[in-house]
């Protein structure tokens, strides 16, 4: 733990700048200099100590297993030497030796190929090796909030030393991966680092605003280590635009903005640090923890307050399609559902994957990763299984809501430590081991008990959102009234409230009317957050209208914005005389259901397939090959045909509209998948069953999938020359299996010749050729 800070504290400045441009360091990794030129490194530490630095940072920015690949020495040798150099200088002084942890140099999944576990283990190894030798850790220059979270957990779970965590921001005021200073401050405060802040980035002048924004979201010490101005490349060297006195001028302003610890990054020298050393005389202010309630994703911050809408569509209860998607690990479905709810103005999304006979812990982790891959909205991690919630919260990028804790001792003992450790807002159900109280007073007593217990774990009541619990009025007509009165009572405790709206109408006809009316009654009684279906446009509009009418929407801004928002695009058939054949050729996806059902009135599914679908696809293929129809149109036609197949299969289950089963994968090391997705949709449009393993697929996963699914063919895709090797290795492993099916390959760099050389059976130059070759293969 960091000791309380009463005066501004001083870190050192740049190590790299001091090592650059010297003859003795040319062509040598800076980390290797710890071993090769200890006197040089020690001299730099000494200069910073003399300049007034109270924290000396080890020369270990790139000293981790992932990054330190070109070193002449082992990671341990480099680390030992670096710590010894700083220790030697710090001895007989009060200066602390802080182990410097730079980023891995890899981008995290899904944008890159670094997994959360790999990022975590990379730092864990360092901490376990160094924790008895240093006085603390500085995680710095991180550009990705999720990599930062992995590193913070790796430090905090493996030692109790002080942890400083700083990120770098671009000129846009966001990190490379899009996090704002507020989001960074909220997330790192929730993770309980000892100090957080900003380093590197632009010059100190631009950091004032960042510090102000961070300060509004944290009570913790803020560490700021700016570059000495904007970097400019000149004569092969990077130079920086400010002089030392300018740097000092701006650093004083940074302190006034709320920084408590300052130092320097790129371009700074001992002289720069000397110029800001006088700030150590400045008393620090104390700051209170924030009392408003926020959740966030990596790029979206959400204040929880009156009139917030939580999308309920990612909960499999009563949703057969979602249940099926979860059973089949079809995360595309979840991603589409998430994006649709986001487009329908949900503020955050509930994610529940609880289906019978599934490994919920694994499933929710994968679901959260996949949803965060495409959807910016914050999430509510919803499970009755505390282990599943912890697994999901661990890899969640940002600060989530969790659903839920309740008045049972067991529940609180399981979840409060998780909330305290990772930081989250939790739904608190007003029930306990005796069930749901029948009276508002009974539910209120449970709420009070939960608040008191949470406080024992250091969790403030602003981090609890109380569910007044809704039960259907079809079983007891008083249920609605009890919920409304509970909401009113809960508001007297000064807490946020939430309900799952649609339960109220369960078992009754025309549920939408009951739901909408109850929404307004609940809002009037004290409801803050409604868990509901955002696709019910009328409910969403009524929610916004309530906020405007009740004075919760300044200048009716949200209401007006929502009214002006582009409605969710639901393509409609414009020409009533359109035929299904024309719809497929023209790729009019929105017309599929009406036209297919119309054809089904007087045709069998086989007739539709043979006389409409296949001829239409043939025409599309011919036009594409002639160059009179283009890739986007081909895809639209394929998606239309796929939708027709789905309708035929749904209405006439006895008809087997499915053809051969094909596994598709973009090979290991390749993160491009748009080409594979095109092949997938075109194959599906021709009725093939596709098992899509995704991108960057490990060889063993393809081999395993062959065993599990016993496909009729396997298709592999690679965009880059460097990943053709992985394609060859995947084929080689598959060839070792008995009864291996045909393997086809494709991708921008793959040619007929390469396909032969690496042992593929077929080469697909494009999606249509692939279909034709497979049809031909199976015709034989």
């Amino acid at each position: 733990m960091l000791q309380p800070i009463t005066h501004i504290q001083l870190f050192d400045g740049a190590m790299g700048t001091m090592l650059t441009g010297r003859k003795e360091t040319e062509g040598i990794l800076f980390e290797d200099l710890n071993v090769l030129s200890p006197e040089l490194v020690q001299d730099i530490h000494r200069q910073y100590l003399k300049a007034g630095a109270e924290y000396l940072t080890t020369n270990t920015f790139g000293a981790n297993r992932i990054k330190l690949k070109d070193s002449k020495f082992s990671l341990e040798e480099v680390i030992d030497a670096a710590i010894a150099n700083a220790r030697k200088v710090a001895e007989n002084s009060s200066a602390k030796v802080i182990f410097d942890i730079g980023p891995s140099g890899k981008l995290m999944e899904p944008l890159g190929d670094l997994t959360f576990e790999a990022a975590y283990n990379n730092i864990k190894e360092i901490v376990q090796y160094t924790r008895d030798k240093v006085d603390g850790y500085l995680i710095e220059t991180y550009a990705d909030l999720l990599e930062m979270k992995a590193a913070v957990l790796a430090v905090k779970e493996n030692c109790t030393l002080p942890l400083f965590a700083t990120m770098t921001f671009e000129e846009s005021g966001r990190t490379l991966t899009g996090s704002t200073p507020e989001i960074v401050a909220l997330t790192l405060t929730s993770l309980q680092v000892d100090a957080l802040g900003v380093n590197c980035s632009t010059g100190p002048d631009r950091m004032i605003e960042i510090v102000e924004k961070m300060r509004a979201f944290t009570h913790l010490p803020i560490l700021v280590q700016p570059n000495k101005g904007l970097p400019e490349m000149c004569c092969g060297q990077i130079s920086y635009s400010l002089n030392d006195s300018d740097f000092a001028f701006w650093t004083e302003k940074i302190v006034a903005a709320g920084a408590t610890i300052v130092g320097g990054c790129c371009g700074t020298t001992p002289q720069t640090i000397r110029c800001i050393a006088h700030l150590k005389q400045t008393k620090t202010k104390s700051y209170k923890p924030i009392s408003d309630t926020y959740i966030c994703s990596a790029t979206r911050l959400l204040k929880l307050e009156k009139g917030i809408l939580c999308g309920e569509r990612l909960n499999p209860t009563g949703k057969k399609l979602l249940q099926k998607a979860l059973l089949e690990n079809n995360f595309d479905f979840l991603q589409q559902e998430a994006l649709q709810q986001a487009a329908a103005q949900a503020d955050f999304l509930d994610v529940n994957v609880g289906i019978p006979n599934c490994d919920e812990k694994t499933l929710i982790v994968e679901a959260v990763k996949k949803i965060q891959e495409v959807c910016e909205l914050p999430l509510q991690l919803d499970s009755a299984n505390p282990a599943a919630i912890e697994a999901a919260i661990r890899i969640y990028n940002g600060v989530p809501m969790i659903n839920s804790v309740n008045g049972n001792e067991e529940s609180m003992q399981a979840l409060f430590p998780v909330i305290a450790k990772y930081g989250a807002v939790s739904v608190a159900l007003t029930l306990d081991k005796n069930g749901i109280p029948e009276t508002p007073e009974g539910r209120l007593e449970i709420a009070k008990k939960i608040i008191a217990k949470a406080a024992e774990y250091g969790i403030g009541k602003h981090l609890l959102v109380f569910d007044a619990l809704v039960m259907t009025i079809s079983s007891n007509q008083q249920h609605g009234r009890i919920t409304l009165e509970t909401l009113a009572q809960l508001k007297k405790l000064g807490v946020l409230t939430i309900i799952g709206l649609s339960n109220i109408s369960f078992g009754l006809p025309q549920r939408a009317y009951l739901n909408r009316t109850f929404l307004i009654m609940a809002l009037q009684s004290g409801l803050d957050i409604a868990i509901m279906n955002p696709n019910d446009t009328d409910s969403v509009r009524m929610l916004k209208a309530f906020n405007a009418l009740a004075g919760y929407d300044d200048n009716c801004a949200t209401y007006i914005a929502a009214s002006n928002a582009t409605p969710v695009e639901i393509p409609v058939q414009k020409q009533s005389e359109q035929t299904l054949y024309q719809a497929i050729v023209q790729g009019l996806k929105g017309t599929t259901e009406t036209l297919t059902n119309k054809e089904l009135e007087d045709k069998t599914p086989e007739t539709i397939i043979n006389e409409i679908l296949i001829p239409a696809l043939t025409e599309v293929g011919e036009k594409f090959e002639k160059g009179t129809l283009f890739l986007p149109q081909l895809i639209n036609s394929a998606e239309t045909a796929k939708a027709v197949f789905a309708i035929l299969a749904k209405h006439f289950k006895q008809i087997d509209t499915k053809k051969e089963k094909i596994i598709l994968a973009t090979v290991q090391g390749d993160i491009h998948d748009i080409g594979k997705n095109i092949v997938k949709i075109v194959l599906e449009s021709h009725g093939f069953q596709i098992i899509d393993l995704g991108k960057n697929v490990a060889i063993e996963k393809v081999v395993e999938a062959f065993g599990t699914h016993q496909p009729d063919a396997i298709g592999l895709s690679a965009l880059m020359t460097t990943t053709v090797d992985a394609m060859a290795k995947t084929i080689a492993e598959l060839r070792k299996l008995p009864n291996i099916c045909p393997i086809f390959v494709g991708g921008a760099v793959v040619t007929e010749q390469i396909a032969k050389e690496i042992g593929a059976d077929l080469y697909g130059a494009d999606a249509l050729t692939t279909v034709n070759k497979l049809e031909e293969l199976w015709k034989k």
Binding site: A143, E170, L176, G178
Partner: protein, 205 residues
Amino acid sequence: MLQPDISLINNTLRYIGCSDGQADEQMLLTVRKALDTVLTKADFKYRYCKIADLADTPTFLEKEAYASLRPFLNEAALFAATLGLGCDRAIQATTKTDLSQAVVINAAANVVLEHLADEKLNTLQPKGVLFCPGYSGSDIIDNKQILNYLDAQKLIGIYTTESGIMIPEKSLCGIVLNNYRFSCKNCFIQSKCDYIKKGTTCYNQ
């Protein structure tokens, strides 16, 4: 901000295989929408450094695949540029809801990146064409050295995977060569090249 002018529209159409005059109203609308998305999401950044100004000469240039470049290296520079992660994210999300539109956004992003890179290269000295690792039988893994010399990860946020793939995906890097003329001679996709089939090339002759 860059506007989706006729040149960007035509080049995007070319990327999706649609030659001049073949696009119908719907296709033109789709391309305009894609360009709007890209221009909203793009955060163009670049780095540039003359090879003569580097502390040492990049070792990858000693490879045989770069032999034809050597007479031009005295006047050459390293260059890297990116549209940032916003475009990657837009393509990724659109792929889930509208693959057809995602393909057009992908093409539009390539066009915008090339356009902005060309525009920037025209303001720098030396001027010239950009030779990217992967051309003429050279190894794409050499991207890593170029990006390292330009400190591109730290300064403009271009990462590379183990296999040399750049992230953000809409990034490019290479060597700026004055008076250099490209050739298809060693290109490994000659056998499937649509440009060659049409009797033209992917570069300006």
